[in-house]
């Protein structure tokens, strides 16, 4: 406090004859405001939000780096996350006021000097022994607001820390980790509310979107994603989600899944939150006839009260683990001389959806992978898939028959998705989406199952197989106007990292083979790469500091592929683990 008083006094004495710049430099930084967060997409001096803007376009207006200058991009420093906890590093760094805030595996958070790589502080969350993350002990990033930095933990807690000191301000339980809940997504902060989803889709939990007061951590509203469950607002019951038993039989809506494990995006223009929901539970679809709303959907939610404005279900009555969690990216669709407020979503199920973000109506849906077996296409009028009924895994034998598994089918995409969690990018200059896709299929069959709290609630068996000998991963440029693939880059191992695009006509993404790569955004030609020493499954960012353009990405192989990848896991088993933050820049001269 003393320091604050001193600098204010100093500022007061200077104010008569000095520029306000001096004032800003002397006063302690109040941190990003709500307005700063809403405008973060155009702020090139900082990276304030997951997705590089609330709409999550992952687009930077910076042009210093371009397809010509990128060959001069060089590493500045690398920072090790330390310890023996070298597992998947899926984070996107947050950059503010010369500091990088980055999360690591096992619920760790670091503040690092952006210029030197010097560690300012580190927070190591003490995890109980019984955590149940389905798909590696990852975290996807932090959220910044005013004087605090926030992140969610594997034991399903939300921690707020002072961003200068790393001291914990509050620590709130989101869900009970013993029932299978965890949390790996980056929180979203809108108008002073911190909004989170939940993980645990394989344990029969109920998907939930929750808003808390960012200052105190007190709950403001909750919205369950499964119809029949009741939301809350300011400590009281609010409304029922959907209509009870409209698309679920009996009591199954109480363990229906629909986890919102990837968090959400926000569109300031329509003042709408977009949260994707996970697969229904159990996997065996024959147990739950109906559409199973609102699983495998995108929900448009009012940030003030948690009410659902509209929904679009990408995979009604899912039987293949096609979570609908993938990010819904708001963009202006310029078509036939009109500008439509649209959103793009590259779904696990293999289709790229363009949806009117004001009402949830489908505009276009087209495949972004080469093979889709479960549906012939999406009916544009009804918005519903045209199923291939014989590609649904068969019902298991009833009763207690031994070896009662149902008919096995070969299905593509595999349950790990044509695109999984790794965020795509949209470039308003090329008007293209850059989608990190994977080409794989699976044998899948159903098995008898009963729900037990805290136990995996699958009722299915599966094994993943690559579709092609020479590649699995494919970075694809998708034209949302036509659904056409404009270019593609094929990668031997599955792609599992986020994408960044810039006004310098560049696209960046990482590969499990250890490279951070840059491509010409129009042609797809590879123009730069750097070997980081372990697989890159994080999301790169760029910003400008001291007049130079920087790029940062985390390196550290892991995530769901080595754990669930079947035949594919064999292909990647020799990739060494790691845990580090790499920072690059384009030097001035």
């Amino acid at each position: 406090m003393k320091r604050l008083v001193t600098s204010l006094a100093l500022a007061a004495s200077l104010i008569a004859f000095s520029a306000t710049g001096v004032l800003a430099a002397d006063a302690p930084s109040a941190g990003p405001s709500s307005d700063d967060l809403l405008k973060s997409a155009t702020n090139t001096e900082a990276v304030l939000t997951y997705g590089m803007g609330p709409q999550a376009q992952r687009f930077s207006p910076l042009t210093d780096l371009n397809a010509d200058t990128v060959k001069k991009l060089v590493p500045v420093w690398s920072f090790s996350f330390g310890g023996e906890k070298q597992r998947g590093q899926e984070a996107q760094p947050i950059i503010y006021d010369g500091t990088i805030y980055v999360t690591g595996s096992y619920s760790r958070l670091y503040a690092v000097d952006a210029r030197t790589g010097h560690k300012k502080w580190e927070y190591n969350h003490r995890l109980p022994d019984g955590i149940m993350p389905c798909c590696d002990v990852v975290n996807r990033g932090a959220a910044i607001y005013k004087d605090k930095i926030y992140f969610a933990t594997l034991d399903a807690r939300l921690v707020a820390l002072n961003r200068e000191t790393g001291k914990v301000v509050w620590n709130k339980k989101l869900q009970e980790y013993k029932d299978g809940y965890s949390n790996t997504a980056a929180p979203l902060i809108i108008d002073g509310k911190i909004i989170t989803g939940n993980s645990g889709g394989e344990f029969g939990v109920i998907g939930m979107v929750e808003a808390r007061d960012a200052e105190t951590g007190e709950l403001v509203w909750q919205r369950p994603t499964i119809e029949g469950n009741v939301g809350t607002l300011n400590g009281k019951e609010s409304t029922v989600t959907g209509k009870i038993n409209a698309s679920w039989p009996g009591d199954m809506y109480k363990t229906g899944g629909g986890a919102t494990w990837l968090g959400g995006t926000y569109d300031p223009e329509t003042k709408t939150l977009f949260f994707g929901t996970g697969n229904p539970a159990p996997w065996n679809s024959h147990l739950r006839p109906g559409d199973n709303l609102y699983t495998s959907s995108t929900l448009a939610i009012d940030p003030d009260n948690g009410e659902i404005k509209w929904h679009y279900q990408t995979t009604p009555h899912d039987g293949w683990d096609f979570d609908g969690v993938n990010e819904f990216v708001s963009f202006d669709l310029k078509k036939d001389g009109k500008v439509i407020k649209a959103g793009g979503k590259a779904d696990r199920n293999g289709f790229f959806y363009v949806i009117d973000r004001t009402n949830g109506k489908l505009i276009n849906a087209s495949p972004f992978v080469t093979k889709i077996t479960w549906a012939k296409g999406i009916d544009i009028e009804t918005g519903r898939p045209i199923y291939n009924d014989d590609n649904r895994p068969g019902a298991p034998a009833t009763a207690d028959a031994h070896d009662a598994k149902g008919k096995s089918v070969f299905s593509a995409p595999a349950f790990l998705g044509a695109k999984n969690w790794m965020p795509m990018a949209y470039n308003p200059q090329t008007e293209l989406f850059y989608v990190p896709a994977n080409e794989w299929g699976m044998d899948i069959w159903n098995e008898p199952i009963t729900y037990k709290k805290g136990a995996a609630y699958l009722g299915a068996g599966f094994t993943i197989k690559p579709l092609y000998d020479d590649y699995i991963g494919a970075l694809r440029a998708v034209d949302p106007k036509t659904g056409k693939i404009v270019w593609e880059y094929k990668n031997p191992a599955p792609l599992w990292g986020g994408v960044l695009t810039t006004a310098g006509n560049l696209v960046f993404t990482g590969t499990p083979e250890g490279y951070l790569k840059a491509f010409d955004a129009k042609s797809g030609q590879e123009v730069w790469k750097f070997q980081t020493g372990s697989g890159v499954v994080g999301s790169p960012v760029t910003w400008k500091m001291d007049g130079e353009q920087y790029v940062a990405v985390v390196s550290g192989w892991g995530g769901a592929v080595p754990l669930w990848g079947g035949d594919v896991a064999k292909l990647v088993k020799d990739i060494n683990q790691g845990g580090s933050l790499w920072v690059f820049k384009l030097p001035k001269a």
């Binding site: 310890g83 906890k85 969350h125 003490r126 109980p128 509050w170 620590n171």
Partner: protein, 288 residues
Amino acid sequence: MRYALRHMGLAGAMFAVASPALAAGSPSDPLNSVMWEALRDQYFAGAPVVFDTAVKVTAPAAAEDTRAVPISVDATALGRVVEMVAIADLNPFPLVLRYHPGTAAPYIATRIKIQQATALRGAARTADGVWHVSGVLVDAAGGGCSAPPTSYAQKDWADHVGEVQARLWPADPEGVARLRLRIRHPNDTGLVDGIPAYFVETLQVEAQTPGGSPALARIDSLEPVSENPVYSLDLRPPPDATALVLRGRDNQGGEIRATIPMPPPGSKPAMRPAMSPKPAEQPWSVGQ
């Protein structure tokens, strides 16, 4: 105990010569610890320091269990005390705790981890700003700060973090009542491979009275305090107190809260000085 007594005797003798020790310059350390000057500058930051046997530090001459070495600091001989500290010179984290006695008598006891044989100090700051320092030497085998806590052998340790056991004895004729607290917490130092720092940071005792909840005393606790920390305090609860309330938190924002009932009528005040290992046959009252 022989070592400790001898050193305290030595300290006393030096004081006879050096007193009044407030004179210019800083007195030399009667315990001859290599860390003294560094620690003095770090924790007393320019404030006047005297070695004063009026502060009584009690600890075993040889530690039986380096993960839980009992220590008490008693500065009641100084009268009113504003703040107390305990320091283990050769620990990786020398500062054990800071105690703000408030209205309580200046006495605190706890159990600490020590990493190797070391000087253990207690210091009390009187209202005039002077730190009165005393201490003993404790012999020990190594490793108390870098061994994992035993609670991790139990799978369900996380279910019990923050649970409080407490007992309050009736006040003696001077109005001083002994409070003993035990908090379930691994109190990890962060020095064990793969186990992050995770320890109780602040504890405050308040009185529940018809007129409000006055704070009685506060402890700023740190890494060296033992697993499942135990503290003994000598409080002065207001006569109209209906219960005591303990509020605290750990360094990860975990909250600690317990209501401690007043002792049943007819029970006897604690014996003092009380570092008796078995304070009474009555069961501990459990508050949550």
